[in-house]
């Protein structure tokens, strides 16, 4: 009997590793190995024809820390995250509350909110180009009706990042709405009735009952939004290319530029390592802390 159990256990182990192996090979080639290789590359100098590649320790990192452009890009990305995350989540919540309520034209409203989600970021950027173009763009046309001067939204450092932020919010909010909408539909009808009997105002009901019940969803969306604030940079290629004078440059775009425009792989690697560390911290917080704390229903 025990040999039979042993045999079964061994059979399961062999099958288990066999079934996992194709996925593990690809994950090793395109996730694990590249992560380690990035760390490795970041510790070596950039080889030139005259000077071969050599170990430089943390020099690439200290060079980055001494580079004002790097700090500007970090500041831009923090701003990008700090504005897009709360604003798109707030709009998503409002959209969900409306799309879940008894309003007119609900089908149209839901579709309109969600549609930007299915468009490629590149296409979204092209659509917004028509809004932002100075002189010809829709925003300038509207402004000229009120006698406002023409503004080059994408071409001046004060507004370029904001123009980028608005496109991201437009793209994200409808996607996040879906998750709020699903969560709202699980809130029992009786809670609303009880609140009505108690004479609670709609504001009180929303703030004291709905928002706490949406807490797990809010955290789930927040983690997604945080990751997106690193990932969503495609529109930079169309709208600003990070300019003018780096005013709208974001980290991933800067990594791309370092590696594929300036051919400075070690600096790109050092920046990648820092981004991975930040993402790993988010992951650790998510898995260890949030998953335990938020499911209290």
């Amino acid at each position: 009997m025990s040999t039979h159990a042993n045999l079964e256990r061994r059979r399961q182990a062999i099958y288990g590793w066999l079934l996992l192996s194709p996925a593990l090979v690809l994950l090793s080639a395109f996730a694990f190995y590249p992560s380690i290789a990035t760390l490795w590359t970041s510790l070596f100098s950039r080889g030139t024809r005259r000077r071969p590649v050599e170990y430089v320790g943390f020099e690439n990192y200290s060079d980055l820390f001494a580079d004002p452009t790097f700090w500007l890009v970090v500041k831009n990305n923090l701003m990008y995250a700090g504005v897009t995350i709360p604003v798109s989540m707030g709009i998503a919540l409002a959209m969900a509350l409306w799309a879940n309520g008894k309003i007119r034209a609900r089908g149209f409203v839901r579709t309109a909110y969600f549609t930007p989600t299915v468009l490629p970021m590149i296409a979204a950027a092209n659509l917004w180009l028509f809004f932002y173009t100075p002189g010809l763009g829709v925003l300038d046309q509207i402004g000229s009706v009120f006698g406002l001067p023409s503004v080059n939204w994408l071409g001046q450092p004060e507004t370029a990042l904001w123009a980028i932020i608005i496109v991201t919010i437009w793209k994200e909010a409808g996607f996040f709405m879906i998750f709020y909408l699903a969560a709202l539909q699980t809130i029992p009808e009786e809670l609303k009735e009880a609140a009505d009997i108690e004479g609670a105002s709609r504001w009180t009901y929303t703030r004291r009952i709905v928002l706490p019940l949406l807490m797990p969803t809010t955290l789930f969306i927040a983690v997604n939004a945080l990751i997106n604030s690193v990932k969503l940079i495609d529109h930079l290629f169309i709208l600003t290319k990070g300019g003018p004078s780096d005013a709208s440059k974001l980290l991933l775009y800067y990594i791309w530029e370092m590696a594929f425009a300036f051919f400075d792989a070690p600096s790109a690697a050092a920046m990648t390592v820092m981004v991975i560390v930040v993402l790993a911290i988010i992951a650790a917080i998510k898995f260890s802390y949030l998953d335990k704390r938020t499911h209290y229903q």
Partner: protein, 269 residues
Amino acid sequence: MKSLTNFMDSFGAILLAIIWIAPLLFAFWAATHSTSDAVNLNLLSPWTLENFRVAWAGAPWLKYFLNTFMLVTIILIGQFFLTTLAGFAFAQLTFRGKDFVFILVLMQLFILPEVLIVENYAMVSRLGLFDTILGVGMPYMASAFGIFLMRQAFKGVPIELHEAARIEGCGLLGILWRVYVPLAKPTYLAYALVSVSTHWNNFLWPLIVTNSPDTRPLTVGLSIFGAPENGVDISIISAATMMSVAPLLIAFLIFQRQFVQAFLRAGIK
């Protein structure tokens, strides 16, 4: 009072909906009118398909469409194959080291392929896959997200069905194929919709790995077509944009409910 708040709600919701859909409507307007009429928002100006004709002639769109189609298909086949096997191993088999490997896989949820572009580019070149559609698709096939999703789906299958199939003399792979896969159909559908719409829209990685019209997907083709160096005007860019989003947009409008369900199923589980 109550009807007033109702009215205000409807008003706010519809106003926001109009603002949200406006960029798309303006692009549609610009695509179907001559540039000067589009820019002046001349509401009485005649409609035209001329922009679409010019845009279509300006780049190998058919090739781009086919490339994108090939790309999403290859990725989806690879994902289905790899995530089914790995998801099953994680869900139904017990062996030493499983939990450790599972945590490694979950880490890939956060270390995005997008962040590793430099080393992945080196890897793809080493494998001789630079400027091939397979090279664009490969890093996405062993998706941690997909593995996680399939594991959850397979965990929900009652163990009695597994046992029954085994007593009937079915091998492990037979059980996977005849019992688990059919029961996970809704999850496959949801995953397919999310995967196709993600990779149809993907840009940065294909931009890096492709270098010719023979492999370039739509998004990269569109960005090159619209580049300011090419001096294409706004109506023609709008026409090209409408063209390239049309298939996914039309599919979305038809299968809206399934799309929304798919994103939910993929996100919440």
